[in-house]
């Protein structure tokens, strides 16, 4: 069953078309990799899905209801969102930052209860930051900070998780750990959209891959069907080889595409893809 549906999303800002007729549907228990070159419109698409942006055309339905008609608390309990480059403005401890993910269930005069702490303990472990729990958030390294923010998003325990580049800046071990964690979430019935730049991990962990370029959705299919050498040359302008099969496929970029191909052209020509 589809939990999140976007149809014909078009976003125009200052005369530039950032998103053009983008559509996407997310099913129960599915992990979808959202990939594409810088400036392809991935973040804008995610922001539309959680109603942070009002699209100029098109709309988003959450569990069959238009997302624009839902209140922020209603959306918050259904969709957790990890923003790209989210900052931490006060030197709060790591466990308290993670606890912010429980805010959708709190009230003005109630703090964190036993149930909340159970969830916080679990997500601290899942993201491997238990040992950092008492550290002040600003003292963390880049990778540790992303894991903390992902833990906050996980603490929401929403049926849908939208994660914007949750593994950028992580070491290989933690990249694998986080991708496995997201895949496990999907296997337990949650729905996940994850923005990635690592094509091999996208192939290996995602049920489906949505490839964006120039504000459009270029391909949306089973992972292996989307990533072809021809398409990588066209969209990313790279020559890449895809080795192996099944769950062990790897994507190896060799160099600029030969003969040189122009990367996917942005629709308006104002933005370089």
């Amino acid at each position: 069953m589809s939990v999140l549906d976007a149809n014909g999303l078009t976003v125009i800002r200052s005369g530039t078309t950032i998103l053009r007729e983008a559509g996407l549907s997310l099913a129960d228990g599915e992990i979808v990799g959202l990939i594409g070159p810088n400036g392809a419109g991935k973040t804008t698409l995610l922001r539309c899905l959680v109603n942070l942006i009002n699209p100029d055309r098109g709309g988003v339905h959450l569990n069959g209801r238009p997302v624009a008609t839902l209140s922020r608390p209603e959306i918050a309990r259904e969709v957790a969102y990890l923003a790209q480059n989210a900052g931490v403005h006060w030197p709060m401890s790591v466990e308290r930052i993670v606890g912010l993910g429980r805010l959708p269930y709190s009230s003005t005069f109630r703090g964190l209860g036993r149930r909340d702490w159970t969830v916080i303990e679990r997500v601290l472990e899942e993201t491997d930051i238990v040992h950092l729990r008492d550290r002040k958030a600003p003292t963390l390294s880049g990778g540790e900070r992303i894991r903390m923010l992902l833990a906050s998003a996980l603490a929401v325990e929403a049926p849908i998780l939208l994660a914007d580049e949750p593994i950028s800046g992580l070491d290989p071990g933690h990249q694998l750990q986080i991708m496995q964690l997201l895949k496990d979430l999907a296997r337990r019935g949650r729905s996940v959209i994850v923005v990635l730049h690592d094509l091999t991990l996208a192939l290996r962990y995602c049920d489906r891959i949505v490839l964006m370029a120039g504000g459009r959705i270029v391909a949306d299919d089973q992972a292996a069907g989307v990533l072809t050498e021809e398409r990588l040359a066209r969209v990313y302008g790279i020559e890449a080889q895809i080795h192996g099969d099944g769950g062990n496929r790897i994507v190896v970029p060799i160099g600029p595409a030969q003969p040189p191909t122009r990367p996917f052209e942005a629709p308006t020509g104002k933005r370089s893809a």
Binding site: R47, V50, L52, S71, R72, P73, I75, A76, R77, V79, A80, Y81, A83, A86, G87, V88, H89, W90, P91, M92, S93, R96, I97, L100, G101, L103, P104, S106, S107, T108, F109, R110, G111, L112, G113, R114, D116, W117, E121, H131, R133, D134, L149, S152, V156
Partner: protein, 339 residues
């Protein structure tokens, strides 16, 4: 390292901070008692409860008690408004004055003083100050648009403060005689001297309403720690939060300025001093800063009476003398940590 089973900070936020709030409450009580005892003549504390027209009863109940109650209410709301604004703007340098509420409230009051309207009815002064703050907030939103960013709000606040300041200067400039000019200037300096219980009861509802609006923004301020996008997706309608917070500040600060003139920097100093004691958490800072603001203003009001000067020093002068260097120190500190 703390274990998973025992968290001192779990449960209601009020309980977590009980020791801190109790300490602050004791401090406030001691300072309030001291403030009642200080004055040109020695009056026994029993005067507070004495009936009739004894000198002790009149001095206690009609001169000193209003002064203490106003210091409590104004200091508390200033501390609270400072903590709330710093949470909203995610900037430790924010202050109620920054959104232009203080100076616009002062302008409203100055207009009343200039035209002598307070002779018509005594409540004109406070009502005009509150109106000034409300108009400032309305203008602020007109200037900043329907979806104001933090920077636009601050810049609009500076513009409003400058405009109000210029109009106040104009009023002083055009004053028909030296007496009315000095009346305006002295009122602007801020003081709690010679206020009555009427002042207190008139301003209390506005300050209470403002405080309620501000105290209930706590969860959203916590969420804003992660930025505006994350706060929205954690379930907070940020437009509503901004309106609530700025309306609350206008009510609280407008009412305070109306009664006491301009008393600055309480909202800057108090949240900064208390932040480490509440784990830097914006929600927990709100109530602590309310208590802290009350304590600081009571202390300052005791200070102006104890410091031996020929005429009593004005409260706003003392808070600025202490607060402005503190502000500079904060800028240095923030600059270093951001570099």
């Amino acid at each position: 390292m703390s274990s998973g089973s025992s968290h001192p900070m779990s449960g209601p936020p009020l309980l977590a901070d009980l020791p801190l709030l109790a300490c602050l409450a004791v401090l406030v009580a001691v300072l309030a008692g001291a403030s009642l005892m200080i004055g040109e003549v020695a009056v026994p504390m029993s005067g507070l409860f004495a009936g009739g027209n004894s000198t002790a009863a009149i001095i206690m109940q009609e001169i000193r008690l209003p002064r203490v109650l106003l210091a409590l209410a104004i200091g508390g709301t200033l501390g609270l408004a400072g903590a709330a604004l710093q949470g909203l703007l995610r900037n430790p340098l924010a202050e109620p004055g920054i959104i232009g509420a203080s100076s616009s409230a002062a302008l409203g009051a100055v207009i009343v003083l200039y035209f002598g309207l307070f002779n018509l009815f005594p409540l004109a002064l406070p009502l005009a100050a509150i109106a000034g703050a409300v108009i400032a907030i309305a203008l602020l939103f007109a200037l900043a648009g329907r979806d104001p960013s933090v920077l636009t709000l601050i810049l609009a606040g500076i513009a409003l403060s400058s405009l109000a300041g210029a109009l106040i200067s104009l009023a002083i400039n055009l004053s028909p005689d030296a007496l009315s000019a000095s009346e305006i200037v002295f009122w602007l300096l801020g003081s709690l001297k010679d206020r009555s219980m009427d002042h207190f009861f008139l301003s209390l509802p506005f300050m209470a309403a403002g405080a309620l609006l501000l105290l209930t923004t706590g969860r959203a301020l916590d969420a804003l720690t992660l930025g505006e996008d994350m706060a929205s997706t954690l379930g907070f309608d940020l437009k509503r939060v901004r309106v609530q917070l700025i309306a609350g500040t206008a009510l609280a600060v407008g009412a305070g300025v109306a009664v006491a003139g301009v008393v600055g920097f309480v909202g800057l100093v108090v949240p900064h001093l208390l932040r480490p004691f509440v784990g830097h958490e914006p929600r927990r800072l709100l109530l602590a800063s309310t208590f802290g603001g009350a304590a600081l203003l009571l202390a300052a009001d005791i200070g102006v009476r104890l410091i031996p000067t020929n005429v009593e020093m004005k409260l706003g002068v003392l808070t600025a003398l202490v607060g402005a260097p503190f502000f500079l120190f904060l800028i240095f500190k923030v600059r270093r940590s951001m570099a």
